[in-house]
Amino acid sequence: MNSYYAANLLVYAGVDIIALLALNLQFGVSGIVNFSFIVFQAVGAYTAAVLSMPPDTTFGYEFQVYFGGYHLPFPIPWIGGAIAGGFLAIPVGLVVLRKLRSDYQAIALLVLSIITNEVITNARPFLNGAAGLALVPQPLSDVIDPNTETYQYFYVAITAVCVVLVFVVANRIVNSPYGRSLRAMREREIAAIAIGKNPVQLKMTVFIVGGVIAGLSGAILVGFIQLWAPSVWLYPETIILFAAIIVGGRGNNVGAILGALLVPVGFEEVTRFIPSSFGPPGLIPALQWVAIGLLIIGFLWFRPEGVRPEPRHVFEGAPVREDLEDARAS
């Protein structure tokens, strides 16, 4: 195992953890089925890319077309990516989250994800179409030489800082009164309205917060892999993240991290070592997707609460559900 592989694995793990903490806030804690999550990551990545790249007339960059090209220093592109993710959440949320029933919300977001990808793929002048953006400059590459082992670990370190930051914020949200309102809304929206909560406002804020974090995760990833094309953010990528949340355990941040380590990182790393000469070309990646589907269906059937179930918040002196059932039975 060389250091490049290790750094690669760690950065991917960090990006997946950040993304899953955001998706857990939306889907796990608040019950918003954001099937277009990957779009928010993609928008963050594109924004970070065009903020850090030089204009497309620069020597060496003329083979691609894109708008922007501001060549801004780190960390502005990352912050820009996060803000872009949050800004995208506002119009999408206003259309989808205000009136629609929850299953319609899910469908609308799924369709949005498919269509956005199609538009970006076909509209070349905007973000270079299907070919995507390449040669995205790495953060601080003018200070540290990116081709060194030191830089790899430097990147792992700044990713780790972001992971910790996001984890702390997500934990604060989940354990705050606001987080309790979100859970109340997820469990029974009408009851939440009855005690004076505004579900549209709750959903909108968590949708924007999730968008910001998703944008950040995309920005981190694009700075590391240096290229971004529509083919890497197709809607099935979101399904992997949902599989991770379902496997890890909905509604708790530790479960989200566990899911990140088990599904996008663990599962894909393990299956990477299956020799690709096995079967016709494309068989192994296809079977990986089938396995992701089986993982979701299997967990929803046998263990819908996931590997690490959400802890039940019980307050001292409050009657627990089992006690009530016992009392009713006797």
């Binding site: 929850s102 319609y104 929206e189 494309g282 929803l300 059937w301």
Partner: protein, 294 residues
Amino acid sequence: MDLYVAAFGFGLVGMSVIAIAAVGFTMQFGITNMINLAYGEVMISSAYVAYYVNKAGITIWVGMIAGALFGAVFSFLLNRFVYAPFQRKGTSHIGMVIVSLAVSLMIANLLLPIVGYYSVSYQDTTGGLLRAGGIVLTTNQIAIIGVAVVLMLLIHGLLRYTRLGKAMRATAANPTLARNCGIPTQRVIDSVWLITGALCGLAGVVAAMDSDSFAISNGAGFLITALAAAVLGGAGQPYGAMIGAVIIGMITELSAAAWAPEYKEVVAFGILVLVMVLRPQGLLSKRGALAAAG
């Protein structure tokens, strides 16, 4: 101007294809309360069944029947072994949507190693050209319109004038009450999956005939247009889906003539967004997207 007249002709074909798909989709949702996101993938699977029948030298019209039979059996089994057990278990609406999305992913990727990435097309004579006042259509396209009209009349007859149709409407309105009135809801739901599955399979073959070539990746596009028509008409309303199909089919073809053909699905999506903002319950439904799930 001639361009738009020709596009109007294509719109007639497009709306026929969408109507078959959307009516099947909306009936599944209305009667069995299941948003089946694997619908597009079942369509494309059926199109491939017809492709292999056609490849063996048999005419595509026989292939169409084979596709319809495959769609019926496949949808029936899908419900029997995946959806119905989850519904009995009390999985939430959202849980069911996620299950069907996982199923859709699995179908597409099980199909991929069998049929490959490349686009294929049916080998058949497209028939002669028919002209009527600027509209030019092949006899196959006329036949597609004919098939759609006959199917819509059959669905209308089924829902209005047969005992099964009455039982279906009762099951859609209130399954518990229907069961208590002595309607065998289990058998009704089985027959709904068979009928809508046949529509789904037929729609897949017809959609594949209408586009010159097709590949697995078309499944998502098929789903989006069917969804857009169903939601526009009011989810769960077969007649609404027919109206939705007429509107979406015509607008997408006219926009393809006016703008760019690769954005047909984008236009369908635009209509979907407008409906969701302005009239989420759809044209014909009182309830639709607004009411609480369940």
